[in-house]
């Protein structure tokens, strides 16, 4: 207490000396660059194929009015695309769909769900948070809210030559979501029965905890451009294999000019292909080292005597420079 009130607690008093500045910079730089190289390597080892299909899949006569095409349920939405595998891809190969310019993070969208209802189903009837998709014809909707209502409903099937590639669509959501957020005894009810049909239908006989597409969809994305896991191809793909994709182009992104892409990607220990982390490490690391060199240079060219009383402002007058 004495030391406290007299303000004389033991303390270390770090004083930045040029040596400490330069050596810190160097050390940090040397620390960063290998990590960067490692991450970059991991990222580059990932093979990724991105196929945009939203405009290609619209028949020619509807190219000028895609919205009419997508809204007309009588027009078949079948579409097929062909991909060439550039490099050997080791299983599992992850299939993602990517939406651009889709605001899953809009405030109105994000809050339009009821986690209670997802978990407890109809027992939980306070679904005010789901407005404007909370009920239909006076009956509650399960799952309610804009998010589930706008569930993505394009479907994809893949063929190599004539063999259909088996797609595993299980275990695409985080386990915690499946186990705890979506009830095992909650079944879709009164879903997509309204005047407006938003997106995918749900099988009313499958509990929500098994509707993995919905679970994935409902983990709303952070940015308006996002990928969602669709499934896994559990066979290796050889280089130059041609993959044919048959898809149902149901989902309306044409109204708001969103893009749809299909992504096939392998995964490294770090995840999918993303050079950013590696590049950032390398950039920062080299920056640090360059700055350390600049500091050394400045120090050599323009040294200031360390702790020289003449440099104190009240002694400054007489000093030239």
């Amino acid at each position: 207490m004495y030391q406290f009130t007299q303000q004389s607690l033991p303390a270390c008093k770090p004083v930045l000396t040029p040596t400490s500045v330069i050596s810190t910079l160097f050390l940090m730089g040397i620390f960063c660059i290998p990590i960067g190289l490692l991450s970059l390597h991991a990222s580059l080892s990932v093979v990724e194929i991105v196929e945009r299909y939203d405009s290609e899949c619209v028949p020619h006569q509807f190219r000028l009015n895609k919205v009419a095409y997508i809204k007309d349920s009588l027009i078949p939405k079948n579409c097929s695309r062909y991909l060439k595998v550039p490099k050997y891809m080791k299983a599992p190969i992850y299939i993602y769909y990517q939406l651009d310019n889709y605001y899953q993070n809009h405030r109105r969208y994000v809050k339009s769900r009821s986690d209670k209802q997802l978990r407890y189903g109809l027992q939980y009837n306070d679904t005010r948070s789901c407005i404007p998709e909370e009920s239909n014809d006076g009956l509650p909707i399960v799952p309610c809210g804009l998010i589930s209502w706008s569930l993505f409903n394009d479907t994809h099937s893949f063929f190599r030559g004539t063999d259909e590639l088996r797609i595993n669509r299980k275990n695409i959501a985080w386990k915690s979501d499946r186990d705890h957020k979506f009830g095992k005894h909650v079944f879709p009810f009164n879903f997509q029965n309204g005047t407006l049909i938003g997106g995918a239908m749900l099988d009313p006989n499958v509990p929500l905890s098994d509707q993995e597409d919905l679970i994935v969809w409902m983990r709303t994305a952070a940015l308006p451009s996002f990928r969602k896991l669709y499934g896994k191809i559990e066979e290796d793909l050889e280089a130059n294999d041609v993959i044919s994709i048959y898809l149902l182009n149901n989902y309306n992104t044409y109204s708001f000019g969103g893009r749809k892409k299909l992504v096939l990607s392998t995964a490294s220990w770090l995840g999918g292909r993303n050079n950013f982390l590696g590049m950032a490490y390398i950039a920062i690391g080299s920056c640090l080292i360059v700055l350390a060199l600049v500091f050394i240079l400045l120090h050599v060219k323009n040294p200031r005597p360390y702790g020289d009383a003449m440099y104190v402002s009240w002694n400054w007058k007489g000093i030239p420079n």
Partner: protein
């Protein structure tokens, strides 16, 4: 009832009836304004002494006093109102209300909880402070006092007193209310009061009861007293009172002379009996009590500006977002179901409403940009600083009076680090108000071996430690600090000039107006003198063997030792024929006395200038050496007086005395005529020598002043003393020295006097104004010349109160300010308390510099309250200054520690804390802002509610408080060793807009790093299973990075890292992880469980760890480089000092033990004398307080001056003579 009817009949002819008076009293409004005499309520009050029943009808206020702000009922509404008067709280209230509406993107708890916490804490603090005030009031209200009940003195608490009660106050007791003085056991019905609490004057005032009431001393007798007092309504004028006492059908006029005011104390009088006239809040002192203005520090005001800027930034950000949302909203985003039927914020047909509502949404979302915890943290830090550090600092603990420093407010700690002007009172602050006979020069020989404080100071400044050790055999008593064996115990008989010595001593013993009191033995006698100088001189004479022990109106008795031969003691009477009194024009005092052998002598003492003019033209050698001695004394800061005598022949005297009697009995211009007559005899004097009295400085004052001026602080002395005294002290404190150019603007010039004598007030005012204007102009031009030539000459301004009155006129004020700001020292003398405050606010408002006032008396209160920081000297009797002050210290010298150590540190700490808060919240909010661009400007929050609300409260709260408490750039001893470091505070180096801009820059940079690094690296599959992150994963990742970085940044900015830094920084980061582990691990009863399991998901990926490593490095490396480069190429002064002393252990503890002194007293003395200025100074140090002046301010205000001490004394000893009408 009888009393009421009785009063009616008695007052019948008075025009005003008692009944009316009562009703008027009840209805009279009690609006009291400060500093002014408010118009008196019409009518008067009638008090029936010793008759409670009669007074009961009038419903006078009780004597209990309450200074509390609240009571039980008003506490909540009033307290809350006070809280919401702070703009910041209002802002948070608004945000809280907004967050309860549907536009809010965050849950109300985010804002309501912190606000309620803050309000709760503030209210508790208010309640606690009020409780303390209440207890203080209770203590005062319960002080016992003797009241006459049933012919007995009964002790009752003050609060039970009623108007009309007869009470008895004993010696040294305080008067519980405004009293009518009835009787005291002293002859002539006088009593002595000390009014230090009212006007700061320590000399005793004499009050005199009406002759009619003198004998009401015993309780039996007093109970017969039935008087009726008719007097003015309560008012706040301390120096006036009008009323009548009706006793035995006689109406006697009352004057202020019979009134004893609450707050004064009784001295030198066994007890007094008085009747209560005004009670409680109606007493004059209470009506003068002002509400202590609440002061806010300059830094806090600047903080307000910063907050305002932040608010503008917030507004711009919100506006941008709102416009964006108006543009964004479109039916095409069908999945968002924007439609007419949805709420207004999602109605695409009314884009304006959408934008407007989004505006509110965003304000709520970005509200943390102005953190509520800032105020709480800063207040907490300041509270700890003041209660733990300032109040407990051993460097500021005064051992002798057992007084530690006391921070009475915690608002102004950092203001102490930026003070540029100090306004100091003199008496009691710089000096001890203790005059000691110190040296003398008799017949060209200096006696006295002491070293004055200033000489010690000079020696110390030259690196020598001096400790004055008094040899034990030296007689030392109050007023006498003289040590020279050549004069003591009759040894003067062997000196070269024993006759002159004899004259010297006799002059001291005879030529004065002192009254002896008590037994006539040298040990027990007490001298009652109007000025401490006189007492010191008479005490000196006593110690030299010329013991003045008795005074009758015509004779002074002196017990002289060793005069004829060694060891012989005899009582010698001297007949006092005339006393030519001291006044400020004459600057001298003479006594004509007749020895028992018939010798007629005129003894004279006075200023060297006036005495030298009147010396006989001989003995030029003596004059020359004496003058040198005078100058030497003056340079040593001593107050000098010249002594001279003249032998008169009886013819000369008789003829002169005729003229004198004539002058004395003249009715017009008596004073002036007396002065003229005095001139006739005070000539051809023979110089005896001179005395040097040390106006004892407080310990360490010169050193302290020098340190402070090195720190760039300018010190002004504002004193009610006379010019000579003030200049003298300025010399003694080393404020002024002979190498300085002095500008003296005085009203004591012949020209002014001439106009004064003509008596035309209008002309006088015009003349004075013109005079002051010309003087100012002349001085200013001269000062400019000095500045232009760039000479090193320092300037000093001395101005007296009267001139100041005109100089403070709005037309001259600017010139005065310009002149005084260019002066290194300013001395204002003869200034009234109001002028002290005016000068203070002139600098405060006119020059916009930070001012500090320091004083000890009630007359300094206005100045203390006017300055940015008020410091009171505590540990002495009067508490008025302390009660008005913000800080109380026991000694002036503690200012060094208070300012250079505590002030500087507080300033530094608060600056760091504020800028850090600014940085961390701006950065945090900006990450949200960048996110807004990617959410269609919807105002979606990036972070979870709880993250956002706990960010400031838990995850970053403690380290910044630790920073605010422990941060030290350099140690306390170095702060004092390099006072120049203080200039950084005066220049406000650490809280400039430039500094804030740099922080803002880094905040923007870091927020970009946080947002973009985290989001850009999270767009692809995140683990080997290819699973994707959602919004809450990304935001939790970003938040983790923010918490870690912000806490590390704090370590980077600390100059001192104690274990508490480690504990709190580590603890905060740990707290975040613990929180998020628990928070995301359990299911909360909420609608949305976004965060559920998020952290575990995150931590299952390698991405998490890589990002957590990368982002802080990327965010902080810029700051690191900036810090390195700044220190290297543009170092602050403190950084260089740090470097110089980098490897030294903290010396603050050593300072306390460092009392060792290697010099013997003799060596020290020799050294000190060696160090005296070589060139003889022009300053001779004359200073003397005129006796007989009651209250300078009272007389200035045109208020009746009661009798002079001298008159009273003379009359007291001439009881037989009938009462004469008092001369006015």
């Amino acid at each position: 009832m009888a009393g009421w009817r009785g009063s009616r009949s008695r007052l019948g002819g008075g025009g005003d009836t008692g009944g009316m008076a009562m009703t008027e009293h009840v209805s009279s409004s009690r609006t009291v304004r400060l500093g002014r005499v408010q118009p008196q309520a019409p009518g008067h009050r009638t008090v029936f002494c010793n008759d409670r029943e009669a007074n009961a009808l009038a419903k006078f206020k009780g004597n209990s006093v309450s200074t509390t702000k609240y009571d039980v009922l008003t506490f909540l509404p009033k307290g809350l109102f006070e809280q919401f008067r702070r703009v910041a709280n209002l802002y948070f209230l608004m945000i809280s209300i907004l967050s309860c509406t549907p536009v809010s993107p965050v849950s109300p708890i985010t804002n309501v909880l912190p606000l309620s916490l803050v309000l709760l804490v503030s209210l508790i603090k208010e309640a606690w402070e009020d409780w303390k005030r209440f207890q203080n009031d209770m203590a005062i209200n319960n002080t016992p006092v003797d009241v006459l009940l049933d012919q007995k003195w009964i002790s009752v608490p003050w609060k039970k007193l009623q108007v009309g009660d007869i009470i008895r106050v004993k010696q040294d007791g305080y008067f519980p209310a405004d009293l009518l003085f009835l009787a005291s056991p002293n002859p002539d019905g006088v009593c002595y009061t000390e009014t230090a609490n009212l006007d700061g004057e320590t000399n005793l005032k004499i009050r005199k009861a009406l002759e009619k009431t003198w004998d009401y001393v015993t309780p039996e007798r007093v109970s017969e007293f039935k008087g009726e007092v008719q007097c003015e309504q309560p008012n706040n004028s301390l120096y006036t009172f009008t009323g009548n006492l009706i006793i035995q059908n006689q109406t006697l006029p009352l004057s202020p002379n019979q009134i004893l005011l609450r707050g004064c104390s009784l001295r030198n009088t066994e007890f007094i009996v008085g009747a209560v006239i005004f009670t409680g809040h109606e007493t004059k002192v209470m009506m003068n009590a002002m509400k202590i203005p609440s002061k806010r520090s300059t830094l806090e005001k600047k903080l307000d500006k910063l907050i305002l800027t932040l608010f503008c930034v917030l507004f711009c950000m919100c506006l941008l977002g709102a416009v964006g949302s108006g543009i964004f909203i479109n039916r095409k985003y069908y999945y968002l179901e924007f439609s007419k039927n949805s709420d207004a914020q999602s109605n695409p047909d009314n884009r304006f409403a959408v934008a407007a509502l989004t505006m509110f949404t965003l304000i709520t979302l970005y509200s943390p940009i102005i953190p509520i915890s800032l105020y709480v943290s800063v207040e907490m830090i300041k509270f700890i600083q003041s209660t733990q550090f300032i109040n407990n600092d051993l460097h500021m603990y005064h051992f002798e009076s057992n007084t530690p420093a006391l921070a009475r407010t915690s608002n102004l700690n950092e203001e102490l680090g930026q003070v540029e002007y100090i306004f100091s009172d003199k008496t009691g602050t710089l000096t001890r108000n203790l005059m000691e006979f110190f040296k003398c020069s008799i017949g060209g020989e200096i006696y006295g071996t002491g070293i004055s404080e200033i000489e010690i100071g000079t020696a110390q400044r030259n690196g020598m430690k001096v400790e004055v050790q008094k040899s034990s055999d030296v007689t030392h008593e109050k007023g006498f600090n003289f040590d020279d064996a050549r004069l003591m115990r009759g040894a003067w008989r062997n000196e070269p000039n024993p006759d002159l010595c004899k004259e010297f001593f006799r002059c001291l013993a005879i030529c004065h107006t002192v009254l002896p009191e008590g037994e006539d033995s040298p040990e027990k006698i007490r001298y009652q003198a109007a000025s401490p100088d006189e007492a010191a001189l008479v005490t000196a004479a006593k110690n030299f063997g010329f013991f003045f022990f008795k005074r009758t109106p015509t004779t002074i008795y002196v017990r002289e030792s060793h005069v004829e031969r060694m060891g012989k003691v005899e009582d010698v009477p001297y007949e006092i024929l005339n006393v030519l009194e001291f006044n400020s024009t004459r600057k001298r005092q003479s006594v004509v006395c007749r020895y028992s052998n018939g010798r007629l002598v005129l003894y004279c003492k006075g200023a060297d200038t006036v005495i030298y003019e009147r010396l006989a033209d001989r003995d030029n050698e003596l004059k020359r050496t004496s003058r040198e001695h005078l100058e030497e004394f003056g340079a040593a800061g001593l107050r000098t007086l010249c002594l001279a005598y003249r032998d008169l022949s009886s013819e000369v005297y008789e003829s002169w005395n005729e003229k004198y009697i004539q002058a004395k009995s003249s009715l017009r211009d008596r004073e002036k005529k007396l002065d003229e007559v005095a001139e006739l005899i005070e000539k051809e004097l023979v110089l005896i020598g001179c005395t040097a009295i040390e106006d004892k400085l407080q310990e360490g004052v010169p050193t302290c002043i020098e340190t402070l001026s090195k720190a760039g602080i300018k010190i002004w002395v504002l004193t009610g003393d006379k010019m000579e005294t003030a200049i003298n002290i300025a010399y003694a404190c080393k404020l002024i020295n002979n190498s300085m150019k002095q500008f003296i603007i005085s009203s004591e010039t012949d020209a002014v006097r001439e106009v004064e004598d003509r008596g035309d007030q209008v002309e006088l005012a015009r003349f004075m104004k013109e005079n002051v204007k010309n003087e100012l102009k002349r001085c200013y031009e001269e000062a400019l010349q000095y500045l232009r030539t760039g000479s090193e000459t320092k300037l000093a301004l001395v101005i007296d109160g009267k001139c100041l009155m005109y100089a403070l006129d709005p037309s001259l004020r600017v010139m005065l300010l310009n002149l005084s700001l260019n002066c290194n020292a300013v001395v204002c003398c003869r200034v009234s308390p109001l002028q002290k405050a005016q000068v203070t606010s002139l600098v405060k408002k006119g020059a916009k510099r930070i001012t500090l006032s320091i004083g000890d008396g009630a007359n300094d209160v206005s100045m203390i309250q006017a300055a940015h920081v008020g410091v009171g000297i505590s540990g002495q009797e009067g508490m008025q200054a302390v009660m008005a002050s913000d800080f109380a210290i026991a000694q002036f010298r503690f200012l060094t520690d208070l300012l250079l150590v505590h002030g500087r540190w507080s300033y530094l700490r608060i600056c760091k804390v504020v800028t850090y808060f600014f940085y961390k919240n701006l950065m945090f909010t900006l990450t949200q802002f960048w996110f807004t661009f990617h959410t269609g400007f919807s105002g979606q929050r990036f972070y979870d509610d709880w993250f956002q609300s706990l960010y400031n409260v838990i995850f970053t709260a403690l380290p910044v408080i630790v920073l605010g408490i422990f941060e030290k750039d350099v140690s306390a001893s170095l702060s004092k060793k390099y006072p120049e470091l203080y200039k950084e505070g005066i220049r406000n180096t650490f809280f400039k807009w430039r500094v804030i801009a740099i922080w803002a820059f880094f905040a923007i940079y870091q927020s970009l790093v946080f947002y973009h690094f985290v989001t850009a690296s999270s767009i692809t599959g995140m683990n080997k299973a290819g699973k994707m992150f959602g919004l809450w994963d990304v935001s939790t990742m970003a938040f983790t990075c923010v918490v870690v970085t912000v806490n590390l940044r704090l370590l980077m900015m600390s100059n001192t890292i104690t274990r508490w830094h480690h504990v709190t920084v580590g603890g905060s980061i740990l707290a975040w992880f613990i929180f998020v582990f628990i928070y995301s691990g359990i299911v909360l009863p909420k609608d949305q469980e976004n965060i559920y399991f998020v952290i575990y998901v995150l931590m299952s990926t390698i991405y998490f760890y890589l990002t957590l490593l990368l982002v802080p490095i990327a965010a902080l490396f810029c700051d690191f480089i900036y810090q390195g480069a700044q220190r290297w190429f543009f170092p602050y002064d403190y950084q260089i000092v740090q470097e110089i002393h980098r490897h030294e252990p903290d010396a603050s503890k050593v300072g306390l033990l460092e009392i060792g002194n290697q010099l013997t007293p003799d060596e020290a003395r020799r050294y000190a004398i060696m160090q005296l200025p070589g060139e003889k100074s022009k300053h001779t140090g004359f200073a003397f307080d005129s006796p007989g002046y009651e209250s300078f301010f009272a007389s200035q205000a045109g208020v009746f001056v009661p009798q002079k001490a001298w008159d009273v004394a003379r009359r007291a000893s001439m009881k037989s003579r009938p009462k004469t009408s008092r001369k006015n």
